[in-house]
Symmetry: C2
Subunit: 365 residues, 2 copies
């Protein structure tokens, strides 16, 4: 029998129904989570890539352990704080694709190295001395991926030649191991990333440097096989839940979306305006290029046209949205929503099961 999320989550049971829980509050449907986790794993399996899901979306240790039970080789985390929480919950193989620097953080990295398997990235030479010292205190070699900017315009070396230059220094630094090449890709630019990697890998190998792994990721492009022939590992976060932005991009359907924020209509001051109790402190102000601050499930005409901190303003003439009625909001961007709540409810369809702690909420340090 296949593992189920319930076997991994620490669920505080409830006798309440979904209609009775206090709002605003996020709810995830485990039926949908199961399908999403299985889909990512099957796709990685088919392409022969290791699956290393990014837990920044859910921040729940039990879901991470479930993803591993379903075939993931480990997890990706974005900050040391997330790594510490996940390691404390027994996750044994972490990838932290973030430049770690500063004495206190390097101490924390060394402590993590002593406790679990962890690899990091670098995109500049200046930070390598810190990593060297951390590796020394960590008591074993530290795997370092060279982060490449293959189009996202964020971190990363800017060219294959720069990648070679940094790879040389990593490989020559005591205590560091050149683990491979990494990108945080811009959606829709796989071909360019593949070309960058092909060139950087060839340069490294010509210089006698083995490129053992190439790690890429992203939920928007998940499912497309293009440009992945060099990729050995895939990191996807959002696809565990999906959200309105990924539906708008065509990467998912509304039925793939696992998380909604349940809210209550608290005011109906006019025939065309309804106010809900979820504002920017529940949904965030992320637009991601979309119009409106989320979608009201079952009311496609309703427009969430403004979020104050604790109020969501909806333009609608739908008479069902009356004072006291409930709505479910599909957020534009699900990842920062998880980061706003200490607990989340889990359900199967309309059956509410209980509440789960969002273990790494707020761990941005």
């Amino acid at each position: 029998m296949s593992p189920r999320p319930e076997n991994f989550l620490e669920i505080e049971p409830t006798a309440l129904s979904l209609e009775a829980i206090q709002t605003p509050v996020p709810v995830i449907d485990l039926d949908v989570v199961e399908r999403n986790v299985a889909r990512l794993q099957a796709w990685c399996d088919r392409l022969g890539m290791a699956n290393r899901p990014h837990i920044k979306t859910h921040k729940i240790a039990g879901l991470a352990r479930y993803q591993i039970a379903m075939g993931a080789v480990g997890i990706s985390v974005q900050k040391l704080g997330e790594a510490e929480v996940m390691a404390a919950h027994g996750i044994a193989d972490l990838f932290l694709p973030y430049n770690i620097m500063g004495a206190a953080k390097l101490d924390r990295l060394a402590a993590l190295m002593r406790a679990t398997k962890i690899a990091v990235v670098a995109d500049n030479v200046a930070m390598l001395e810190g990593l060297r010292q951390a590796a020394k205190r960590g008591g074993r070699p530290l795997g370092v991926f060279v982060e490449c900017d293959t189009g996202s315009g964020r971190n990363g070396v800017q060219s294959p030649a720069e990648a070679l230059g940094l790879a040389r220094v990593v490989a020559a630094t005591e205590g560091l191991e050149l683990a491979g090449l990494m990108t945080y890709p811009k959606a829709g630019t796989r071909a360019a990333a593949a070309e960058f990697f092909r060139s950087a890998k060839a340069l490294c190998e010509a210089a006698g440097l083995a490129v053992r792994a190439v790690t890429t990721g992203g939920s928007p492009d998940q499912g497309s096989d293009e440009g992945l022939d060099l990729a050995t590992e895939y990191r996807a976060g959002t696809s565990v839940y999906y959200d309105r932005s990924l539906v708008a991009r065509g990467a998912a359907t509304p039925a793939d979306c696992a998380l909604t924020v349940h809210a209550t209509i608290v005011s109906r001051p006019t025939a065309t305006r309804a106010i809900m109790d979820a504002g920017s402190k529940s949904l965030t102000s992320d637009l991601l290029g979309l119009e409106g601050y989320g979608a009201v499930a079952g009311a496609p005409e309703a427009k969430i046209f403004r979020l104050d901190e604790e109020h969501g303003l909806i333009e609608t003439d739908d008479e069902r949205l009356k004072v006291g009625s409930r709505v479910r909001i599909l957020p534009n961007h699900v990842c920062p929503v998880s980061n706003l709540f200490d607990r989340i409810y889990v359900a199967r369809g309309e059956r509410l099961i209980g509440a789960v702690a969002i273990d790494a909420r707020g761990r941005v340090d």
Copy 2:
């Protein structure tokens, strides 16, 4: 001797300097907080208005107690969860200008009524039966303000005639007391609000209903005396810290801003791009009509042009923003930033004092 914030805050001391604290993290300057609290109080005193600061900005019980020690009559809170946290910390006079409904929340309101002084609002008749039942269980009369939409386009009755209609029902409902009129004003529309209140008050009094209080607020208009002749109480939140949006509006100067998010430059991939470790999970995506996601203190040319969740992307050719250097970011909107962190550092100028819990963080329910 005048009270000082240190006498009210539970500070966990630190021997670290500001340059040694781990980032990203918010820091408030108590020198500035003191000035801001005193300025609001003095202005309210001069106009003969009660000062009831809104704690949604800081969410720290000790700061609320300091504001009261400096002359505030009590505090405003936006959600029941905030009220519960503040009441648990001994704050004895709360105003919750939010429509409370649903059995579980009405139970919580009744419990608060038994523990402390609390008043609420209503903007519709449908919710009054719930308030009546809460008041019954609360064991004493519940003060209810009629919320008026005087221009903000959010909650509130739409006309003075509607205000009268609702006031009549409140006054006639067992257990409820008509406390007065309330608005969440749109900035720059005090004259219109004053006209609304004048008319609504006249209608109520002609009908034999006493309007004992008129409560308005807002940090953007704080300092302007216009249109406040009927106001008996003022609610301002953001002005305890101020932020970039209020500087842009001309309501404050950079020196009035008490909170900055300290961050570290973790990458400098090009001569014109620097990456800091504070992203939307530290600064939020709130733009409030501004360009860029915050201001880099001391580097006015630097533009924070994009926030990913854990990365802030800065366009700059300032060579001081090199890998490992520190920056301090003035957030566009300070209130939701407080809501992202469990703890905040307090300082006096460049002297770091310690850390304080953000007691009501995440209490959106």
